[in-house]
Structure formats: structure tokens, C-alpha cells
Symmetry: C2
Subunit: 230 residues, 2 copies
Amino acid sequence: MLKVDPTLIKDLKAFSGLEMAELELMLGEAQSSYFAKGDAFFREGERATRFFVLLDGYLQVVRTTENGEQVIMRHFAPGEVFGIAPALQRETYPANAIAVADCVALHWPNKCWEDFASRVPRFLKNAHGAVGERLNASQDRIIEMATEQVERRVARAVVRLVNQAGKKTEHGIRIDIPVSRQDIAEMTGTTLHTVSRIFSAWASLGLVEVGRQKIEVLSAHKLVTIAEGH
Amino acid sequence: MLKVDPTLIKDLKAFSGLEMAELELMLGEAQSSYFAKGDAFFREGERATRFFVLLDGYLQVVRTTENGEQVIMRHFAPGEVFGIAPALQRETYPANAIAVADCVALHWPNKCWEDFASRVPRFLKNAHGAVGERLNASQDRIIEMATEQVERRVARAVVRLVNQAGKKTEHGIRIDIPVSRQDIAEMTGTTLHTVSRIFSAWASLGLVEVGRQKIEVLSAHKLVTIAEGH
DNA sequence: CGAAATGTTTGCTAAAGATCAAATTGAATG
DNA sequence: CATTCAATTTGATCTTTAGCAAACATTTCG
């Protein structure tokens, strides 16, 4: 349980447009917790009891098929709400939320949701807006899976990772979380073998520099070209 | 503009749990319109001005890629809300909504949304629940596209169509809307050729009877077996 | 440090589907 | 009824990508 200063978080997306008084009201009801890399915020099918805002770190939302295959649905960066079952009239969490870096998150018991509906309506609006974006993103991904082939899907996944977790380096941009070939495969619906081959090809074109759980993009522009196909 | 009797629609999913007075309040603000097969309720990118509840008929939500390929995102049957941009803080509609059979729909200007938020809260809850289901369905479809091969995806699409628009016949269940091979291809991310081959194979196993824009399932059980793979 | 464990690369082969081309069927229309 | 048009089927071929196997590299840990 950490103490959180409202001025530090007022610019987070989830709290955008909130009055300082509203933010303090919310913080008064919040718990904050630390989740180590690898920890689960919640698991698929588990009864949903609380909702979260990520303050620091990075997390993955993953679903597992009956055959034990994993599909990485998306990543969340600081400032995002997640686990907002009450916004969707859900009883259970629909997926696993796993910290892929050490994380700090605020969370509230679900009963606060109704309470905030009247007292911090802007927070609910932000959350519903986030839901809309996610629905859009899901549909974009369906279209991508339906119409584009693997290399482009992989390029897009890398571009997304760069946007969410890219850190400038001397020669390019490094993705600041450990991402394996298998992870990329699970994000794009292919195999680690195919991802490895694609990365090798890109590396020999001088487009990226790759290593064990490491991706550094040397020519973001060319990568975007592959991703968007112009 | 048709007159709608509240008792006829009180059992629709969108209105579930509403008091008769609430329903009458909503109907007082509603317009009802007829949309002929092929008409668009709204188009992708268009400014969202109103939200809908389908009373009768059947509609498709379709998105088009830059290359002009179409992807059918989903179908809606009577009782469903759609075009609910205000629920998601959206300014524009994200896709095309096209009547695939003659339709009747109620619709309201967006300003009613805020109004109903206080006066018919249950309607908003229902709508948010529907959003949750759609987000789930989208994610299921991503998983399907990522992990399953074409025959199974096609089988699932046909099962969904049967559930939403199946009519019992002498020998089986016929899908009561015209669905071409191309349509199925756009629902599953494949080509009409592959769909045609799959249908031919199923037909020769006595599993379905197919024709021009016609699908009749003779053995729903076997089809589900293919769809779920047991 | 040496041994395991884990992640990655790469060659080879095979299968799933896409693409191209052409024939066929069925419906619709004048 | 003949003609046209759209939907469908089917064959042949070509690509893409999965699957398997083995080697290789890097990290971790006893």
C-alpha cells in the first residue's frame, strides 16, 4: 500500500478532465498495490471484484484456448483503466492480466463504480471512451487477421510496441520490455519460427537489430512502410 | 413513420427490465423507420447523430479496407441496439450498417442518450451490457482467426447464422437470409473459392444442402462437431 | 565454471489456402 | 424462349506459412 499524490496522476488518461476534488475523492477510496513482473492482476473467469488504473509498468491481457494456445489480446501502458467489469455489466474477468514489467496500480472495489457514476461522472465517461477505443482496436485487428499476411501483421505489432514502449537509443528505438519471438507470434497469430525468419530478413536489411527478447528498430520509417504497405 | 405498441416490444433484449412507463417515455421520443433490403442505416465515418434498436429484419455491420476488401463484422437480429456512439464517446459511426432483409428500426437523436441516462437508467445498462458482449465476441473472433483454420471458421460462421436466422424445414434448418459464398468468405477471412470447396465437401457428406445464396443445414450436430472439433 | 534451461535460428518438407482460368448453373429480363 | 448476368463450382498451379528437427546462443544457477 503506497501513498499517491494526486498531482502526480492528474494527467493520466483515465483521470483526464477530473477536478482535483474528484481525484482526491477517488484516491480516498483507492488502494494502490505493487505487482511484480509475472504477477497476475486477475485471471480469466475469476469473479470480478475490483477495477484498476495502471500507474506504472506494463501489462499484457492474454487469453488461452482449449488447446492451451495463448493469444495476447493487448498491452496496457500507464494511465489506462482495466478490469472494468462493472462498466460492461460483467460478473467475471474475461482474460488474464499479467504484469510484464514491475507495476503499480490503483484499484477500487466494484461498489465504488456506482458511487463514482454520480460523484465523478467524468471518470465513467473516460472509461466508456476507453471501451469504445478497445472495441475499435479489436475490430481493426479482426480486419488485419482477415486480410493481411503475416509479415505485415508482425510489422504492425512491432510498430504498436514501439509506440507504447519505445525508448530512444543511439541508433534507433528499443522496445523497453522483454518481448520474445513467441510473444510476437501470440500477438499476430503465427509461429515463433515464422517470426524469427521475418526478423532475420529485416535484420539483414538493416531495418532492425534483434537479440534474445530484444528488439531495436533502426528504421522506423521502413517498418511503417511494411506495416502499411505503401 | 410507424406507430409502435409498447406491449409488442417490451420483451426485446434492448428493453429488458424496463417499466412500462419508461418504455412509453422512450417511445414518445422515438422515430420508427422502414429500411429496405440493401439500405444503409449509416456509413463508416459518418457523423453519428442517432442510435437505433432493430425491431424487425436483419442487418450486417461491414467494414471496408483501403484495398476495397470487405469484412463483415457481425449481424444484428431484432431486439438489439446498434449505432450507440454516445455510449462509447464516439463522434462517428465506425462501420457501415446495411439491411440484409427489409427492416424496421426505432431510433432516437443522440441528445436522448443523456436524457435516458437519468430517466431510463436500465436502458443504458442494457446497452453497456451489449457492448461488453460485443467486445467479448470480437475477442473470440480474434482468437478464432489466430488459432483455427478455415473449415472450422466457416463452420462456426454457419452455426452463428443458424442460431440467429435459422428456420426449421422438413429436413433441416434453413438460413432465412440470402447468404452468398462471398458473404461467408467475408465473415471468415477467406475466399469464395475456398468456401465453395468446403460447402461441396459438406454437401457430399450429406451435412448441408447448398444452392445459390441458400444454405440448409441437414445435420446441425455434425456441423457443430466440425465447429468445435470434438 | 560447467551444466541446464530457455530462447533463437535455420534447413527441409508438407499442407493449407490463394490465385488464375474456365466451365457450369441458375435466375432474371426483355 | 433466348439472352444476359451473376453466382458457383472445379481443376491446376503457386505461395505462404506451419511443422518438424536439429543446431546454436545466451542466460541462469548449482
